[in-house]
């Protein structure tokens, strides 16, 4: 830290003893010695506005408190599809997750030997969904695989034995869910 000694109202003349009481110690780059902040108008030109038109631009910068509703486009490069099915179209309904993704997950357990496809957020008649998915998967696999399912009616979970995540997602998207 640079130490600077200022001579206060004094010009040093030869032969005059240094009067330490008149010396002011000043430390640069210190918080206390830095100049006191002035009125903001000294630094930048601004005007206070209360128009709601301009507030929109501020709002645009504020972080959102809600996940925005996605667009209805079906040709997005990520392959994401919007939910187009309406209630009442099927006796069952699968709600999207909070991020508007399909709630189909792969649960791997028993050190990777047990793979279970789980569909969450099933609403309505979950047994009808189970029958429909079972029918679809048996048509896909024929006699090669036994499609075993587990229905948790209270929580709205449907579990299918085996890794059928992509097949189930494909089927749900085809239905518009």
């Amino acid at each position: 830290m640079a130490l600077r000694i200022l001579f206060k109202n004094i010009t040093l003349r030869s032969g005059m003893p240094l009067q330490l009481n008149n010396l002011v110690c000043k430390r640069d780059s210190s918080y206390r010695s830095s100049p006191i902040a002035q009125d903001p108008s000294c630094y930048a030109k601004y005007e206070v506005s209360s128009s709601s038109e301009e507030w929109k631009f501020v709002e645009r910068l504020l972080p959102s408190t809600l996940i925005p509703t996605p667009s209805n486009r079906k040709d997005l490069p990520s392959g994401w599809q919007p939910q187009t099915a309406t209630f009442g179209e099927y006796p069952y309904f699968v709600h999207r997750s909070r991020n508007h993704m399909l709630p189909v997950y792969l649960k791997v357990s028993m050190r990777g030997t047990r793979r279970i496809t789980q569909i969450n957020n099933v609403d309505g008649n979950i047994w009808a969904l189970e029958a429909a998915i079972k029918k679809y998967l048996t048509r896909v696999y024929g006699d090669k695989k036994i499609i075993a399912t587990k229905v948790h009616e209270v929580c709205g979970h449907l579990c299918i034995h085996g890794d059928h995540v992509s097949k189930v997602k494909e089927w749900l998207l085809k239905k518009g869910l």
Partner: protein
């Protein structure tokens, strides 16, 4: 600010959500309630809007005046019994410190002398009587105090615990909504009679959105040990299950809905689900 946020959220939600937090007035003199409007489709046509009567506490006889709409994601969610159980276990454990203690060999208060010579006695060789082989000696792998059982349940398990318990309480008719907590007297027998006549069960938990409660109910419940007052920020799964009946004020319902809906739809989930640090500011 928060109310502003909520208004914005509700506006941004799909039109099916907008019925939340709406209070529909039903005239009390209209006995048949014929003009009850069709509840709007909320959260799909299968999970309906939840509704509850708004009753009062200033008369012993129940005098419900309005119906309040409850958001199905908060009061009508699919109850995850497993998550409720995890919350209960967590709430018992995070404050539990085990003081069970046993001594290791060095700590046993006994002579450190060799009990008998190494050879010549025909007995087994031993260096000290403090060893776990001796009666009164130390314990191997015994509990050491103070063992804390603190851990943090994942954030969304806590959120779903609240929504599940509120939904369970509502569907079991153990959740009642009142307009405010104003009582006409501070006599404990008044609130006892009220609870008895309305079959609210012996233990009742009253929840308001502020922590400065009205004078009468505070004095009355001070005498009754099985009825408690709690602000919204103290709402928790353990207390809701411990008390047989949960009584919420309308303001508390709105606050709970606002906070829980914010948590269920917030975009910065990574902030909420960060690893828990003891010095973290929420």
């Amino acid at each position: 600010m928060l109310l502003n946020c909520l208004a914005k959220q509700i506006r941004a939600l799909q039109s099916t959500f907008t019925a939340a937090c709406r209070m529909s007035s039903v005239a009390t003199e209209n006995a048949e309630f014929t003009e009850v409007e069709e509840p709007p489709m909320v959260y799909g046509g299968y999970t309906n809007l939840r509704q509850a009567w708004v009753s009062n506490l200033d008369t012993i006889k129940e005098n419900p005046s309005t119906i309040i709409d409850l958001h199905p994601q908060v009061f009508g969610s699919r109850p995850r019994i497993d998550i409720i159980h995890e919350n209960i276990v967590w709430q018992r454990k995070y404050r539990y410190v085990s003081y069970a203690n046993t001594k290791v060999t060095a700590e046993v208060n006994m002579s450190s002398k060799k009990p008998w010579p190494q050879k010549g006695q025909g007995r087994a060789r031993h260096g000290t009587r403090r060893s776990p082989l001796f009666k009164g000696g130390s314990v191997i792998h015994g509990p050491r105090s103070h063992t804390t059982h603190f851990y943090m349940l994942p954030f969304y398990k806590r959120v779903y615990g609240l929504t599940s318990t509120l939904s369970v309480k509502l569907i079991q008719d153990d959740l009642h909504i009142v307009n405010n907590l104003d009582l006409p007297s501070d006599d404990p027998s008044y609130i006892n009679d009220l609870v008895d006549s309305r079959l609210w069960g012996p233990s009742v938990l009253f929840i308001d959105d502020t922590d400065t409660m009205p004078r009468n109910i505070s004095l009355a419940l001070n005498q009754i040990k099985h009825m408690n007052l709690m602000p919204v920020y103290g709402l928790n799964v353990y207390s809701m299950l411990k008390h047989e009946t949960l009584v919420l004020t309308v303001a508390a319902v709105k606050k709970i809905q606002e906070r829980l809906l914010y948590q269920l739809h917030r975009p910065d989930v990574h902030q909420a689900t960060k690893k828990f640090m003891l010095n973290m500011q929420n």
